[in-house]
């Protein structure tokens, strides 16, 4: 994240706290951007989910969910916004992963596009990658486990991981010291490691 980004976010947060709705929309679209990147990353790592319709779905729907949720819940603080947004991002990613694992079979006769005109056999096609369903399950697990973190750690995790705030920014949002952020961030990851380690044994 650049310095400019941080400045923009700072002013957005101030505007949000001053009760300006437009600031909220802009913050949403920033979270949306992060979600898009996470989804894209997921699609790259799990070729089985490389389905354009689903990618756009996930983004489209989160956008709506988030908007809807934020319209209903009056926001007073930036923390609330971040918490809610992270919650929705996480749920959306999980839904996406789940829907992929349970996708109905009935895809019909017509494929929408096969616009690949290249005839070269070496073109990297998703169909050529070995599928490993267990990896997707492991990925899913992380996001599920975040939900179970202690409140303070989860908020820090949300801010740093889902919202890509810097530790200094997170400290400001939560009005605590950077050292506290660091401790909670470490504790959160240790908790996750413990959960996941246990879960897979």
């Amino acid at each position: 994240m650049t310095k400019d980004d941080a400045d923009v976010r700072q002013s957005l947060l101030q505007r949000l706290q001053a009760g300006e709705a437009a600031a909220r929309d802009e913050l949403i679209s920033r979270s949306y951007e992060r979600l898009r990147r996470l989804a894209a990353r997921m699609l790259r790592d799990f070729p089985i989910v490389q389905n354009r319709a689903t990618t756009s779905d996930v983004l489209h729907e989160t956008f709506f969910r988030l908007r809807r949720a934020l319209e209903i819940v009056p926001l007073t603080t930036a923390v609330e916004f971040y918490r809610l947004a992270a919650l929705h991002m996480r749920r959306q990613l999980l839904d996406m992963a789940r829907s992929l694992r349970h996708q109905p079979e009935s895809f019909g006769l017509h494929s929408l596009t096969n616009s690949q005109s290249s005839s070269s056999a070496s073109y990297p096609e998703p169909g050529h990658t070995t599928l490993d369903p267990a990896a997707l399950a492991r990925w899913q697990e992380v996001h599920e486990r975040v939900e179970a973190l202690p409140e303070e750690e989860r908020i820090v995790f949300d801010l740093l991981y889902y919202h890509e705030l810097s530790q200094a920014e997170a400290a400001e949002v939560l009005d605590v010291s950077i050292a506290t952020i660091k401790r909670r961030w470490t504790a959160a990851r240790l908790h996750l490691a413990a959960y996941l380690g246990d879960a897979s044994l």
């Binding site: 690949q116 096609e125 050529h128 267990a134 990925w139 530790q167 050292a179 990851r189 240790l190 413990a194």
Partner: protein
């Protein structure tokens, strides 16, 4: 400071140092607190593992995660260090990362040979399952002692505990690389052979299948088949055979690698599947159970049916590998995995010869297609047999998979006996003559195939041209297509009535055009808009022909394209917003069909708010108001279906007001009128459900008046007549409920008349015959109420005949079976009324299998259940009429034991018994004494049954007091006692409303 806090501080210190490029060891961190050393070491490892894992699922910049450099210096160093420390290996280099492990190369000093070291990746370290799977490759390969399978030299663990194993290093390249080179080089060679050039129907230079290079590659593939056959003989299937997993050594050796997905047969090693199955208990096909590489996996693998995956699956993948060798392309090329897997499941790939590039020898194509047969039993029985057939081809012998044409056989004969050819030429002439007819057939077949090929190529060229044309032409094409579908919108109903198949074909045709538009990939705004519109129309057409899942996909994609444009100025334009709303509306409708009412509701609401906004801005645009009205009507339907009648009513009313305005403004526009009538009809059904019979009556009348007008003005438009009949029928139902039997009879008769007409005009449309049957059944029931037995019987018999015909045509449609059974019920009831009890029982036993079939298909359907209960009621009565008390009681007990709802079932059983009292009272075959005895017997049984219902939880004494079916019981003492018991002893329970 307690230990936990101290630990966190130490770890934070570690991360701070790392962020500044310094790696602290656990010892350094714990110099002041050696007692924490073990714990710090453990937590550090955990933290790094987590960092890796988080980095793997999405980078979080500005947070102290391990960078690539750190990895090199951090845990990667670990590998080098520990391997070096062992003293046995040197020159350790990182080679690649795979799904589970890292691959390193090293030199084994003691034996002076190159080895591969595979180490489980850090992030999988703590997963027992991952470790097990990782090591299973080593375990499997160690069980396979074959020169074509790289041997495992050693298995062990690194000092950090990660499992690793050492394998033979193979110098060479993969079959995939070799195939790529072969096809590139061959097609790059200019065609020197003029004869071949003249013969080849395609412009590009064909690959030569006689070349040494090809025969060499085929030899490697044969070797791979034999290696796989060997593994099968040891009970192991590979499950991930593909050209990339066949290695060609520099000295001609062939190896099959990557046994990480291998599975033992038949029952060991189920744990991997078990894990997946555990997470996904349903045995339906889900992507989660698909294991392997999609473009090469067998249909059974793509279906996730792990129980079917066996040696034949590897045979299939070897066939797919042969396909790549023959054509240079994978059999399935698709950028979308879901579609790709669907095609794999269907076995939907072009035969090698149809790829349009190379004239693949027919015998090789036949071998390839046999190996890739969709059904495992139709493939080669073993990988060895596949190898054999390929060898036969190499040796120029006839292959099993292919019956040579006469010409081929003659040619082979000529090649094998070249010196003899001239001498026996005379003899051959005779053979040729005999074979002539056969030859002609072969040539004709070939011509047909070529024609098909040409057509395909032409189509492809046309498509390419269509894509290449400029923006202007594209827009023009779009206009034409729009008009095609707009015409469809206006005519679709009548078309659908007249020629459903033709209509479907037409949709399919238009669909193809739009699919082309939807495939536009250019990124400028105009192209994206066209793409969005194309997708929207594709969705609509798919919806029209009932391909819901696909409609949903297209619609979602369309909306996604629109959404991506939301930030651009174009998004403010009316047409853009209107189209977005249309797509929301369509997607909602599709989702509703697919059983997702919640999401449908959200989308309808979104569509409605967009359209309301537009309506506010453009008061005069009828199209916006019409769209809004449609949306309201849809929303009303959805709410009514989900039992929110009051809200639904509001939306229907909003829709009716809008359509009313529109049809007043444009009285000539039939569509508005038709829509208005439909909304009135929907409103009527809703009011009927709310028991607002008078209002329902008036709504149906309004609807009826409009349809009558339309049907009279446009007699050629059959859909108006159909809607009119529906309306008559609905109105009649309300009239029956309000006791206006004469009007009801008239309305039913009118509906019947129209359906009769339609069924005659459109004999292929089963729904008309069904509606006619329904109409006759309804009228028959009404006539029965009116005690006009003979007329009732006439209608019911007619209905029965229609239903019987339909049931023979559609034996698996539960609705039809249940309706058939219901008509038989009605006939039985009628027979009971006429005291023709034997006839009633006959009808009922005829109905029984139909009831059962319907209930088997859908056990919870309330209508099916009610009809079956009615049948049992009629059976109780018929047996009572025949003085068969035991049988009557048995039938009543059958009602009691239906098991749907113990209380309601017992209550219904009591009703059936109580109703017998009235019947036996009227039986003039009995003496007065006998009659009294029967009345008393049924009364007793009915009360006993009621007591049973009370035991099961029935509590409402009020219901017992007012239910007319129990009128004959009220004077009985046992009934009074039951009532008293209910009111006294069950008092507390009555506090429940």
């Amino acid at each position: 400071m307690n230990n936990d806090a101290r630990l966190l501080d130490l770890l934070t210190q570690y991360e701070d140092a790392k962020a500044q490029g310094r790696l602290l060891t656990a010892e350094e961190l714990c110099s002041d607190c050696p007692e924490l050393l073990d714990e710090v070491r453990e937590k550090l490892a955990a933290l790094e593992r987590m960092n890796l894992r988080l980095a793997a699922i999405g980078p979080a910049p500005d947070t102290p995660l391990v960078s690539a450099d750190d990895e090199q210096s951090g845990h990667w160093l670990n590998v080098v260090e520990s391997l070096t420390l062992s003293g046995r290996y040197e020159d350790i280099r990182f080679f690649a990362t795979g799904g589970m492990g890292e691959v390193w190369t090293a030199k084994d000093v003691s034996l002076n040979r190159l080895v591969v070291v595979k180490v489980l990746r850090h992030e999988h370290f703590r997963s027992a399952e991952a470790a097990r799977r990782f090591l299973s490759e080593a375990e499997v390969t160690s069980r396979l002692d074959h020169p074509g399978i790289a041997p495992v030299y050693a298995v062990g663990r690194l000092p950090d505990g990660r499992p690793c194993y050492v394998m033979r290093f193979i110098e060479g390249c993969s079959l995939q690389d070799a195939i790529n080179r072969f096809h590139e080089e061959e097609s790059a060679t200019p065609p020197s052979d003029t004869a071949r050039q003249a013969k080849a129907p395609f412009p590009s230079a064909p690959v030569c299948f006689d070349s040494l290079a090809f025969r060499d590659l085929l030899g490697h593939l044969i070797a791979a088949c034999e290696i796989v056959a060997f593994a099968h003989s040891r009970g192991i299937i590979h499950r991930d055979i593909k050209p990339a997993n066949v290695m060609l050594g520099n000295f001609g050796e062939t190896l099959v690698i990557d046994w990480g997905l291998a599975k033992s047969l038949p029952d060991q090693d189920e744990a991997v599947e078990q894990v997946v199955q555990d997470r996904d208990p349903s045995h339906e096909t889900t992507l989660g159970t698909v294991v392997g590489t999609p473009a090469f996996m067998s249909p059974e693998q793509a279906e996730g049916r792990t129980e079917l995956v066996g040696p034949a699956s590897d045979v299939y993948s070897l066939g797919a590998t042969l396909y790549v060798l023959l054509t240079g392309k994978a059999p399935f090329r698709q950028s979308r995995l879901d579609f790709l897997l669907a095609r794999v499941r269907r076995g939907d790939f072009p035969p090698p010869r149809a790829t349009g590039q190379v004239p693949v020898p027919a015998a090789l194509q036949a071998i390839c297609l046999k190996a890739m047969a969709r059904e495992p039993q139709r493939r080669y029985a073993s990988a060895g047999e596949l190898a054999q057939d390929l060898k036969r081809w190499l040796a120029d012998e006839p292959v099993c998979a292919y019956r040579d044409s006469v010409l081929d056989r003659l040619r082979r004969f000529a090649r094998h006996h070249r010196s003899a050819t001239l001498a026996s030429a005379a003899g051959l002439a005779l053979t040729l003559l005999v074979a002539l007819t056969g030859l002609i057939v072969v040539q004709q077949q070939q011509r047909t195939t070529e024609k098909a090929l040409r057509a395909e190529v032409q189509a492809k060229a046309k498509e390419a041209a269509a894509r290449a044309v400029g923006d202007h032409a594209r827009r023009h094409a779009l206009e034409v297509l729009r008009s095609m579908t707009d015409d469809l919108v206006m005519n679709q109903l009548s078309r659908a009535l007249g020629d459903p198949q033709g209509n479907r074909d037409y949709y399919q045709e238009v669909l193809k055009h739009f699919e082309r538009l939807a495939a536009i990939t250019e990124d400028d705004t105009a192209s994206r808009l066209i793409r969005a519109e194309g997708l929207g129309r594709v969705a609509w057409l798919r919806y029209q022909i009932g391909r819901m899942q696909e409609a949903r996909l297209a619609c979602k994609e369309s909306i996604a394209v629109f959404n991506a444009l939301l930030d651009e100025p174009i998004a403010q334009q009316t047409e853009f917003r209107k189209q977005l709303a249309t797509n929301y509306n369509l997607l909602a409708t599709v989702l509703k069909e697919l059983g997702e009412p919640e999401r449908a509701e959200i989308l309808y609401t979104d569509a409605r708010s967009i359209l309301q906004q537009l309506k506010a801005e453009f008061q005069n645009r009828p199209d916006v108001r019409s769209d809004l009205a449609m949306c309201c009507n849809n929303l009303g339907n959805l709410l009514a279906d989900t039992d929110r009648m009051p809200q639904a009513k509001l939306f229907y009313e909003e829709a009716s007001i809008l359509y009313k305005q529109l049809s007043d403004e444009e009285p000539d526009n039939r569509r508005y009128l038709q829509e208005l009538a439909i909304v009135y009809n929907n409103l009527g059904i809703l009011q009927e459900n709310l028991s607002q019979l008078e209002q329902a009556h008036s709504s149906f009348r309004q609807s009826l008046a409009i349809f009558q007008g339309l049907a009279a003005a446009y007699p050629e438009r059959s859909e108006y007549r159909r809607d009119l009949a529906m309306c008559h029928n609905n109105l009649a139902n309300v009239l029956v409920q309000t006791g206006c039997f004469q009007d009801a009879e008239a309305a039913f008769s009118k509906a019947l008349g129209i359906y009769q007409q339609l069924a005659t005009e459109f004999p292929n449309r089963t729904e008309f015959r069904r509606q006619l049957a329904m109409s006759r059944n309804n009228l028959g029931s009404l006539l029965q109420i009116l005690k006009r037995w003979q007329e009732a019987q006439f209608q019911l018999r007619n209905a029965l005949n229609l239903y019987k015909q339909l049931a023979t045509e559609f034996p698996h449609q539960p609705d039809i079976r249940s309706e058939l059974a219901n008509t038989l019920n009605n006939l039985a009831v009628l027979s009971n009324e006429e005291h023709a009890f034997h006839a009633a029982i006959e009808c009922l036993s005829e109905a029984e299998p139909h009831h059962q079939a319907a209930l088997n298909a859908n056990p919870a359907n309330p209508e099916f259940r009610q009809r079956y209960r009615n049948a049992l009621w009629a059976l109780v009565k018929a047996n009572a009429g025949l003085l068969e008390r035991a049988k009557a009681l048995a039938a009543a007990e059958k009602v009691r034991d239906l098991g749907w709802d113990p209380v309601a079932n017992a209550y219904d059983a009591a009703v059936a018994l109580a109703r017998c009292i009235r019947l036996v009272e009227k039986l003039d075959t009995l003496s007065q004494e006998e009659r009294d005895a029967a009345v008393s017997w049924y009364g007793e049984r009915a009360v006993a049954m009621l007591r049973y219902a009370v035991e099961k939880g029935f509590r409402s004494s009020v219901t017992l007091k007012i239910d007319t079916d129990f009128a004959d019981l009220r004077l009985r003492q046992d009934f009074q006692r039951l009532l008293a018991d209910l009111e006294n002893s069950y008092q507390p329970a009555r506090s429940q409303p």
